[in-house]
Symmetry: C2
Subunit: 553 residues, 2 copies
């Protein structure tokens, strides 16, 4: 059964492995929600499937659960009202989680990888349902939820499965070792078995419940570890659907469905902190704020901890060959999902003396005007604006945005009325003016639609500030605009020093906050914003161990 | 220059990579000290080179050093009297260590790997000198010091370099990504650069100063990290020679020699603990006792910590087809280097009702007699015995051995007179009788020539005790003797559960305490005895990070 699953998906696995090695373009799951791709009925059926969950009890049983939680409200203005079992008895949960571990270990890499790939296929058939669930928990606009929360998340999951597969199978299952000697050679037969570390805990976030949780989930599951999924209380449904799909495939393939469980909680239950220090928990994947991420790295000593936290994403503007395209590209990056991405740019350094362009030197004020005009083009029409901005995910973002209005505002935020959802909270980004002296402001992340235009003494100072700030406070992304090869070289060098990926002169359809699975690494693990990267060898290699036996033959 | 070095050693690298993937037999450095292999003069010249160091000042300069330390005494009964710079000013040391890091990063995997392979070649030319240095610091007999401290250590170093090479080069240096679209494809050129984590600290041990330090040293250096080598105060010379060779090759190739430094100390300086928590130190490789190893895992949170500690290595004896060969194999494992190996067997579980053999059932007393007779054959002649036993490395081992004499002694230890070194401390192993109830004794490691024959209610209980004890206290090795396929299967399953490598029915020239580079993993990282394994992907993958840049083309 399980080998048949691997056979069914073998081409996809091989393609993913090859793309990860070449870093060339590959995608296994079409990112277009077009009826031409997914069929005329898919969008409607997916929306109906999502709506059928609303106000009801999600049909999952969690070992050790007691009572129910219902904690989700759409940023588009309505309560989801879905109830999930409240995970209470951690002993019972972890005991049930481990119950099927040995059978899962013994089926081997082929069997586990086949099951994981089949789960992706099942999730793919529910991509419109997932997109609606992601939209109405994260606040992402529908198309983004379909892409980032559906197709791209599936690609990132496949990438993690491919890396885990490569890592598990680089050591053969058996080998014969023959050492020549004076007489008969010494000859030994050896076996090498992949064994799991223990229970894996995946702690989901509010803004990217699938995209940020699936890589760790499938990397741990594929390497033999049972997975407890602890969703953010405001974004449970996408992961409940995920766990349901996992359990269905596991059960059909003859495994204990509790190898993947959902651990939902009330916001004050502190379930993640409780689970994270349990001796049974040996792997943790976390996406979220620095405070709890740092706490996990510090306190969950018994586990290998992978964190994606936050930093101050930086753009150094020196000069450009296409001022309008640069402004348009930056404006899009500020606007996409209202800047509520760990990869959205925040700090834009530029010389106080101005930026050389194809149309002469532009002063900082003119750059701000250029970005403002580009924002107006993108967001001037409310109906179009909401499809880029999505909704403000929570009150924390809103209050930071409100507080920003007290600054030196270059471009003001504006309230947008959603044509379909009256009660949606939608805002355009704001741009504030700072100088190099305002380190107390720009050295902290202001998560949401707030960006800073920071005037420096020149590009050398801009690069120095970039290097220093990222080394101390981290970043998920960085970008540079310059027509000078020397500046580009200096910026590359600074990015290597700071340990952050660099995008150079983005003027077209690629944006600094987007990364492509199989080619772009997400996060580097080389600065304080994250200790892990999607997906490199380090992300999978320590999720399992190889145990050998040997005997004379 | 550096590419020429890689070219020179390319075949060796490729062979090592291939062997690591196939786990078949491979060795790059001949383990025979025979003149036919190394030439008539090699042994004498190496001994003379070693003796030339005695009583003198070793010509290394350590940044921030002040004064000198001279801390080594041969277990064969004389002071080495070699002086090394005493590392005092940690700021100066770490600053100098980092000074050449950027140049070392920028030369890339090819350049660094070429330098590392050239260092191995230089160390190989000094293998007899190293063997003498290892012998007279660890107490290993000469041939073992030549093999384990020389040839096998070089093979393990090569293995680590090969794994690091594979891991660094699995991502290409550049790639072109082209995403099809409705109009022109999106086309981006990407670069991927391996960047180091920071300073790597290698903390050496007394018993295997080279074999246990070189894998971490070369894994870190090859991936771009400067390395500070902190030797055990009783085993400095082998690592001083190592650092000297590293610095010579680095300098010749145009790099800062302080990329590898020696940090020698007085025994009470606590230099390792001071260095281990410095923010500059991002990688730590440690071999030694559990107390400090656990402390490092707990406290050095800014670093990735790789530890090889200790456990209770176990043999389950159920039945055998060749009683004499089994006793001989076990006796050799107890005797080799007086059991002063983290891989030496300690706990031998067997049914109180006896062990089935080709010659009928043997009672525990008869098994003890068989082992005793085998020990007598191996060690009855003092001149031959010392070549297997080596010297007792320190007073701690001696006092544990003395204390063991108060137990229920089945085979007594005996003092051996070394024909060449009057003042050498040489002892044969002792075997004590315990029962399953004596957990307070057998659940702790008694490092040195002390083994326990533990009577159980039967093989089922033996296997249960093995599984449970190793899960709680760890083990580097395990072995089983049985003619029953069912017992072997049960024991394999228990070994997977306990996370320890298993040797089955060793009756010939392979011993449980020995592992072969490129084929056998040393340690598993899956039980409390070690959190790392020589060498798997996890041992190298997190020693560096990949930083990318991308731009439209």
């Amino acid at each position: 059964m399980t080998d048949a699953l691997l056979d069914r998906h073998r081409q996809r696995l091989d393609d993913a492995v090859a793309a990860s090695a070449s870093r060339t373009y590959y995608s296994a799951f079409d990112e277009s929600p077009s009826p031409r791709v997914y069929g005329e009925d898919a969008a409607g059926a997916g929306k109906a499937a999502f709506e059928a969950w609303l106000g009801g009890t999600f049909p999952l049983s969690t070992p050790g659960a007691s009572g129910a939680v219902s904690t989700e409200r759409s940023p588009f203005g309505f309560d989801l009202g879905v109830s999930y079992p409240r995970a209470v008895d951690v002993d019972a949960l972890l005991s049930a989680s481990r119950a099927g571990m040995k059978q899962w270990r013994d089926v081997g890499p082929e069997g586990r990888t086949g099951v994981c790939l089949e789960i992706l296929s099942r999730l793919h058939t529910r991509i419109f349902e997932l997109a609606n669930a992601v939209q109405h928990t994260s606040g992402q606009a529908f198309v983004m939820a379909f892409q980032a929360g559906g197709a791209h998340a599936l690609d990132r999951a496949l990438e993690a499965i491919a890396y885990a597969w490569t890592e598990m199978t680089r050591t053969p299952a058996t080998a014969v070792w023959e050492k020549p000697g004076r007489g008969e050679p010494l000859r030994m037969e050896k076996t090498f078995t992949v064994v799991p570390r223990g229970v894996a805990l995946v702690i989901g976030c509010n803004t990217f419940p699938t995209w940020n949780s699936w890589p760790g989930l499938f990397a741990s599951l594929g390497t033999g570890n049972p997975v407890v999924v602890k969703p953010h209380p405001a974004a449970v449904l996408p992961l409940a659907i995920t766990v349901q799909a996992c359990q269905q495939v596991l059960a059909e393939a003859g495994f204990d469905p509790n190898l993947v469980t959902l651990a939902a909680e009330e916001p004050d239950d502190h379930l993640a902190a409780t689970l994270a220090v349990r001796p049974e928990v040996r792997l943790i994947d976390f996406t979220g704020g620095n405070a709890f991420g740092d706490w996990l790295e510090e306190h969950a000593r018994q586990a290998v901890v992978f964190t994606e936290k936050a930093g101050v994403n930086t753009v150094v503007v020196d000069s450009t060959s296409d001022f309008a395209a640069m402004c348009q590209n930056l404006a899009f990056s500020f606007s996409l999902y209202s800047g509520q991405m760990c990869t959205a740019p925040q700090n834009v350094y530029l010389p106080a003396s101005g930026v050389a362009t194809e149309d002469g030197v532009k002063t900082p004020a003119e750059v701000a005007d250029g970005i403002g005009a580009a924002l107006e083009r993108l967001l001037g029409d409310d109906a179009r604006a909401v499809e880029l901005l999505g909704g403000i995910v929570n009150d924390g973002v809103l209050s930071r945005l409100d507080a920003a209005a007290d600054g030196d505002v270059l471009v003001a935020s504006r309230t947008v009325t959603h044509p379909a959802f009256d009660a949606a909270t939608v805002r355009t980004p704001t741009l504030l003016r700072l100088t190099a002296k305002d380190a107390d402001v720009y050295e902290s992340e202001c998560f949401g639609p707030v960006a800073y235009l920071i005037e420096t003494g020149g590009t050398d100072e801009s690069i120095a500030l970039f290097r220093d700030t990222v080394q101390r406070h981290g970043a998920m992304t960085a970008a540079v605009y310059s027509t000078s090869d020397e500046v580009i070289a200096d910026m590359r060098d600074a990015a290597l020093d700071a340990g952050v990926a660099l995008s150079e002169n983005l003027l077209g359809g690629v944006f600094v906050n987007q990364s492509a699975a199989f080619s772009d690494f997400h996060g580097t693990g080389a600065n304080p914003a994250a200790n892990a990267s999607y997906t490199d060898g380090a992300y999978v290699a320590s999720r399992f161990r190889v145990i050998q036996s040997r005997r004379h033959v």
